[in-house]
Amino acid sequence: MIRVAWLVAKKDLRIELRSRILLWQVLPFGVLALVLAGLALGPVQAGHSSAAPGLFYLVTLFVTLLVIARSQAVEETPGTRESIATLGLDPAGVFLGKALALMVELWVVGLVLLSGAVLLLHTALAGTVSALPSVLVTLGAMAAAGTLYGALTAGLDGPATLLPVLALPAFAPLLVAGERSFSAALHGGALWEWWVIVVVALVSYLAVGVLLYGVLEEA
């Protein structure tokens, strides 16, 4: 399972590096969205506003949906999905590999957007840095859930519009927990209960994915 996961993750990341869609399309979209958020708040207020972590996660959500769709799209070249199916790969390994690749991509996105939050939303650098671990774990959980929902919507009519509808309820607790822990890092407050939610969600989505990904792919 681990061998297959590593193989799939390397393949997905190599495809993403070569296509440069993350670099030239997805990241610029995220930065632009952050600029708009900064303009909406105003340059002075932004850093002191409790809205900054929420805006960060809102933009991250939009970008995450794009990256999930992209992760499934690489399998959608005509004939590719069935050709790969005939390799008989362990579905749990495929899930873990795709989730790992998505996680790495979201971490890159997260680091860029956190830098953008400091520059454009004027969040405190020290607080933003201390929020980094919780952001990475939240994005990891979103990658695991997104891989599951991406597989669920792949092959259905209108996956690009169906994915947000199905995934948002799953993302909602992650976004709330992520936003609260980012706020706590910036403005002070208890962190651990939000950490618990995010870590439990990450482990749960990974477990569900390992168990169900094969069923979803066959469906």
């Binding site: 193989l7 393949k11 495809i15 296509s19 690489v74 070249t77 004939g79 590719t80 005939t86 008989g88």
Partner: protein
């Protein structure tokens, strides 16, 4: 006499309430070449997909490459056969070599098989070309290289002559003859009967999801 590589009894496949195959009886000996012919929608690709583990048997019984349909895992079947669809079937952003390395590693095949496979299909000079830059015929050759790396006991080819020029068709004839000589079986679909001077296939005609000839 060796066991047949395919044995189907009254095989029925229904998808979304639509019957794709409606009672197929078929026996394919090992080391043979079988061509499935018939009009569009006759069931050629569906039959190939059943044999490749890409479709589930709804009723009936069958054995393919030693795997019993319906009871054993379709994953086990998929690993035992080699499938080449009539579409590209590869990751366009990976190079020819990277696609083959991915398949070889996925199937625990030694990477030392790659140079010979690329040489055999005439893609040695294109090994580092990104696959989406290949022509349709070259992608088909890449698919055949993939199967050469896999070395399955049963080759399932959906319209393999499509997109091939005359030299490509001759090359494929020679390759299939070699595959057969090496002990593997080949089942492929074709709109018209095989126009090969060298291959002597068994022709199976389908219509409406059934075999109509030989009856």
């Amino acid at each position: 006499m060796s066991e047949p590589v395919v044995r189907l009894r009254n095989a029925v496949v229904v998808t979304n309430g639509f019957p794709l195959l409606s009672g197929v009886d078929l026996e394919i000996p090992s080391q043979s070449l079988t061509v499935l012919t018939g009009a569009n929608g006759a069931g050629k690709t569906s039959l190939l997909r059943l044999l490749g583990g890409l479709l589930a048997l709804t009723s009936g019984e069958g054995q393919v490459a030693g795997v019993t349909l319906g009871t054993e895992s379709r994953r086990a079947l998929r690993r035992s056969v080699g499938w080449l669809g009539h579409e590209g079937s590869f990751y366009g952003e990976l190079t020819v070599r990277e696609n083959l390395v991915f398949a070889a590693r996925a199937l625990d095949r030694p990477l030392t098989l790659l140079p010979d496979a690329l040489e055999r299909v005439g893609l040695s000079g294109r090994a580092d070309t990104v696959t989406r830059m290949l022509s349709a015929g070259q992608r088909r050759r890449l698919g055949l290289a993939w199967l050469l790396v896999r070395r399955p006991a049963l080759w399932l080819l959906d319209e393999p002559y499509a997109s091939l020029d005359d030299s490509g068709r001759t090359f494929l004839d020679e390759l299939l003859a070699d595959v057969q000589a090496a002990g593997a079986s080949v089942v492929m679909s074709a709109h018209d009967e095989l126009r090969s001077a060298t291959l002597k296939p068994t022709i199976v005609r389908l219509a409406g999801g059934r075999i109509v000839s030989p009856s």
